[in-house]
């Protein structure tokens, strides 16, 4: 998917979300007016008109339920395709879901989040920034997870693109939200990367025990990255014993050199450390 195609898709997505919001308001107002009318003017309610109204409402409801079900199936299919690495096919399905009709825009917004994660997985950060920006333009009040994930992906990609200031702006609203443990686990590596890039190692070394506790719950490469970043922060703060301990742990979780190639925040840690590979065979 080229940038132009993505821009077109995001424009149609934006239009569809607005249209859904308008239709939803109209539907609610219509139902409310019907209820009031049938209450105040029951004598004028012709039986055939009443039957017709009930049928229209019922049919409309069934049609929208079927369409929503169809969209949910399409979204599920896209997720399966993403899981099996068929990214291009998945993006086609996600595009269809994002521009589909339903009474609630929830499915479209979730599909948009998946589209962003599909680009993030391929390190296409410009696209991730565009998609997450488009997603965050909409009200995501009841979809807290989508909002949090969009902000995390946005901050991650902005850091990759060296746009540190904007990454800070993307992260700031998250600090006011009550985050789940899973969200805190996703936030920690990104926050540490930001703090190190912004030249604030003291911040990164604050609440060291709590940060290590969360890092221990991460998968091996992420745990290694967080430990290496905490080691760097400790080293800069003169906490050498802690830095040494953390770097040993980082090396035990995963090889740091491939990680350092991807995340320049830890490049100097691996250069300065130059320690042996913990995974080396036994003597």
């Amino acid at each position: 998917m080229s940038l132009t195609e993505l821009d077109n898709l995001l424009r149609r997505f934006h239009r569809r979300i607005n249209q859904i919001a308008v239709i939803r308001i109209l539907a609610i107002v219509t139902v409310a007016l019907l209820a009031v009318w049938s209450t105040w003017e029951p004598a004028q309610l012709d039986r055939r008109v009443a039957a017709l109204l009930v049928s229209v409402v019922l049919l409309g409801w069934i049609a929208l339920a079927l369409v929503s079900f169809h969209l949910a199936r399409m979204l599920q299919m896209a997720r399966i395709l993403l899981g099996t690495g068929q990214t291009d096919n998945a993006r086609v399905w996600l595009g269809r879901v994002m521009t589909g009709w339903s009474l609630s825009s929830r499915i479209q917004l979730v599909a948009c989040q998946h589209l962003a994660s599909s680009f993030l997985a391929k390190d296409r950060h410009e696209e991730v920034v565009s998609i997450c920006g488009a997603l965050l333009r909409h009200r995501l009040g009841r979809l807290k997870n989508v909002a949090v994930n969009a902000r995390l992906m946005l901050a991650d990609s902005l850091l990759m693109l060296d746009r540190v200031g904007e990454a800070c702006e993307a992260l700031e609203p998250l600090y006011d939200l009550p985050l789940s443990l899973a969200d805190r686990m996703k936030l920690l590596p990104i926050q540490l990367r930001y703090e190190l890039r912004a030249g604030q190692p003291a911040l990164a070394a604050e609440s060291l025990s709590e940060n290590v506790r969360i890092a221990e719950l991460l998968e091996s490469p992420q745990a290694a990255l967080v430990h290496a970043m905490l080691a760097k922060a400790c080293r800069r703060k003169g906490m050498h014993a802690q830095a040494e301990f953390l770097i040993r742990r980082a090396r035990l979780y995963a090889d740091l050199e491939p990680l350092a190639q991807r995340y320049k925040e830890i490049a100097d840690v691996t250069e300065a450390d130059g320690g042996p590979d913990a995974h080396a065979p036994f003597p």
Binding site: S38, P42, L218, S220, L252, H279, P281, P283
Partner: protein, 284 residues
């Protein structure tokens, strides 16, 4: 922490209700009343309440039932999340409280219920209540409503529990069957951990050392911090084979990730290793 009686009770109370109950009963009642009203509409007019009120009453009633169900589901989701977070953060007492509260009522969502039961079994293992853990794991397998990955995790947990409760033959058969199953590496790492535990418990660890490097790599890649348990068991295996140097290296790695007392608490079989080899000191 979790007695066998409590485990049995929670397995029973958390089972989804079948047939007519709660909201279904209420909706059936409304349906019957509407049917009766259609057959004899004069009864409704005789009540003195205007006719137009009835559809709104029925509608409000249905909305109330639906909202009540949503609130209950939301409460269960919140409790489930709180229980899993407590388990991950090793806040055992809190996890116990949340799980007991959650499983005291029917949980209709099968995967969520299985996860909660697996958490309960895990909690029982932490408290060394292996009979209770066995009860929970067997219930999950007997009911067979869990998804394939959950069933696999349950079999692994049950195999480890059987080894602790002395039902070695069943445990060996279960581990052998798991060993023969073709699995992705992320799941294979868990199987290898149980397999290694079996070898250590049965004193056959020295024979399995040919797989040591393979297992170590698998643990490192897929188990995160829990790889520490694998390294600890590898240390025990090297120790059984009278190879102190690699045993020391493995024990150092194990205790670098997980504190020695936590390792021994989880796997009592590591107590001799802890006594023989130096652990890494945690400076945090």
């Amino acid at each position: 922490m979790i007695s066998k009686e409590l485990a049995e009770k929670l397995v029973r109370t958390s089972r989804p209700l079948r047939g007519l109950h709660g909201s279904r009963m209420v909706l059936l009642g409304i349906g019957l009343l509407l049917g009766a009203a259609l057959a004899r509409p004069e009864y409704l007019t005789q009540s003195g309440i205007p006719l137009w009120v009835w559809p709104h009453v029925v509608l409000l009633f249905i909305v109330a039932v639906v909202l009540l169900k949503l609130v209950r589901r939301q409460r269960q989701a919140t409790l489930t999340l709180a229980a899993f977070e407590s388990l991950q953060l090793q806040e055992w007492e809190q996890a116990r409280r949340h799980l007991v509260k959650l499983l005291a009522r029917p949980v209709n969502h099968a995967p969520a219920r299985t996860e909660a039961l697996l958490g309960l079994g895990n909690l029982a293992e932490i408290g060394h209540d292996y009979d209770a853990a066995q009860e929970v794991y067997e219930a999950i397998l007997n009911e067979a409503v869990a998804n394939p990955v959950q069933l696999l995790m349950t079999r692994m947990a049950l195999a480890a529990t059987l080894l602790r409760t002395g039902q070695t033959a069943d445990a060996v058969e279960m581990v052998d069957r798991l060993d023969r199953t073709s699995l992705p590496d992320s799941l294979k790492a868990h199987v290898e951990l149980v397999s290694l535990f079996r070898e250590v418990v049965m004193g056959q660890a020295a024979d399995g050392l040919v797989k040591a490097d393979y297992r170590r790599a698998l643990f490192r890649e897929h188990l995160g911090t829990r790889a520490g348990y694998g390294y600890g068991l590898l240390a025990a295996a090297y120790d059984q084979a009278n190879l102190p140097s690699p045993a020391q290296k493995c024990w150092a790695d194990a205790t670098l990730l997980v504190r020695a007392d936590a390792l021994v608490d989880r796997f009592g079989e590591l107590a001799p290793v802890a006594a023989r080899y130096a652990a890494v000191e945690h400076v945090l």
